[in-house]
């Protein structure tokens, strides 16, 4: 048994090294735990979908076909089509299309939006968002929800936000 003398300097160095490693491990574990909470695969409908042929939509009507699955209204005007997001811009509930009153009405806090998606009553601070809409190679409408267009930013003038017929 050798009796080595551990100096204060050596002792403190080891303690410092130990704590550094421990905290590094803890930080790594924390990062992994945080990453663990973000799932890799979502069992949700795809962010883009085919919405049939433009002829299927009657002029002046709001189509409720894709509302429950994709959260999108497809609106047909005389000029063409646009895809409105069915998420209220107040706090994210799903408004209802009231065909009699020609408005979207949110059941949560009473926000109202016109046919165009522009807000006119209730607490919603801005119009409904529109999604990218285009015609696919097979002649079907394609809606891409990863790209959104906001009226208040002037993005509704973007040709991708509107499908002219």
């Amino acid at each position: 048994m050798s009796k080595e003398k551990v100096t204060r300097r050596v002792f403190v160095s080891w303690i410092f090294l130990g704590w550094t490693l421990f905290l590094a491990c803890l930080g790594g574990l924390g990062t992994m735990l945080l990453r663990y909470l973000f799932p890799n695969v979502l069992f949700e409908p795809s962010q883009s979908f085919k919405a049939g042929y433009p002829e299927n939509y009657a002029v002046g009507e709001v189509s409720l076909l894709w509302k429950s699955k994709h959260g999108v209204w497809i609106v047909r005007t005389a000029e063409g089509l646009y895809a409105l997001s069915a998420v209220c811009t107040h706090l994210g509930c799903t408004p209802n299309w009231l065909s009699g009153e020609k408005k979207f009405k949110c059941p949560c806090h009473g926000s109202g939006f016109r046919f165009s998606g522009i807000n006119f009553e209730g607490p919603a601070p801005r119009p409904l968002e529109r999604f990218k809409i285009l015609l696919g190679d097979d002649g079907q409408i394609l809606v891409d929800k990863t790209k959104k267009f906001q009226q208040e930013k002037g993005e509704w003038n973007d040709p991708a936000s509107f499908l002219a017929i």
């Binding site: 909470l37 973000f38 069992f43 949700e44 959260g71 706090l91 994210g92 509930c93 059941p107 949560c108």
Partner: protein
């Protein structure tokens, strides 16, 4: 006869069985010191104060709101555990199971006790906070216990919020839609929050709908089954466990910071 009974009791007290369970041998305390040791040598007794000052039982001063909050928490813990025997946190079963709790399960009132208890606990916790504020009991040396109290208030609200989704009815889904959208507005961590748009390199956003505070809360872009399971685990395991730790510290600090506060 009485002597024989006393002798019998004394003999029982001296058995290994009794002496191993009660550390003081189960003898009757005869002076202040022994009375104190009774409290200190028993796990369940040591949770209580060794002596109770006269002012502590003045209901007009404390309203017993802290104690009531804890009592309601215990009621919620017990009824919650009982409800877990009948509840399945899936989109298919959740709503039906909750309806069954009301209509089919024996003692269907259990679910109503849990629900009303939850409402009541929010009220008592707020009233407790109000009382502590109005009596100035947040002042030194109790200022840190006020901080723990605020954390407990937050945890109570989060327990209430996470429990709101579990019946999986319209109220639940829209309530959690609104609540989780608020998370999307948190600074830097939420897509719509201030500063989130700064966290990007070139055209790559680090904070987007598929990776932000709202996403981590509901495990998806919409309220769905993943959100239900997440809220279930938070409501039944994570938050109760966390609140118990903070409650332990809270009660311990009440004792150590000079006992229950008294009228000036």
């Amino acid at each position: 006869m009485l002597d024989k009974l006393k002798k019998l009791l004394e003999n029982i007290r001296q058995t290994q069985f009794v002496r191993s369970i009660f550390r003081m041998g189960g003898g009757f305390p005869r002076d202040v010191r022994q009375r104190m040791f009774v409290m200190l040598n028993n796990f369940f007794m040591h949770l209580h104060p060794v002596r109770i000052p006269k002012h502590a039982i003045k209901i007009k001063y404390t309203w017993c709101m802290g104690g009531l909050s804890f009592f309601i928490f215990l009621v919620l813990a017990v009824t919650g555990m009982l409800l877990m025997f009948y509840y399945r946190p899936t989109v298919e079963f959740a709503y039906g199971d909750v309806m069954d709790m009301n209509e089919q399960v024996p003692l269907g009132i259990m679910r109503e006790i849990h629900r009303w208890g939850a409402h009541l606990m929010i009220i008592t916790v707020w009233l407790h906070m109000f009382r502590v504020f109005m009596t100035g009991s947040y002042k030194p040396p109790r200022e840190f216990n006020w901080v723990i109290g605020v954390i407990l208030l937050l945890l109570t609200m989060l327990l209430s919020f996470t429990g709101y989704l579990l019946p999986w009815d319209q109220l639940a889904i829209w309530g959690i839609s609104v609540g989780s959208n608020m998370a999307a507005a948190s600074p830097f961590a939420g897509t719509e929050g201030p500063g989130a748009s700064l966290l990007k390199i070139g055209s790559i956003n680090f904070v987007h709908k598929g990776a932000d505070a709202r996403f981590v809360l509901i495990a998806g872009r919409f309220i769905g089954e993943a959100a239900l399971v997440r809220f279930y685990v938070l409501h039944c395991v994570v938050l109760p466990f966390t609140i118990m730790i903070f409650m332990a510290v809270h009660f311990w600090r009440v004792r150590k910071d000079g006992g229950i506060s008294k009228p000036l």
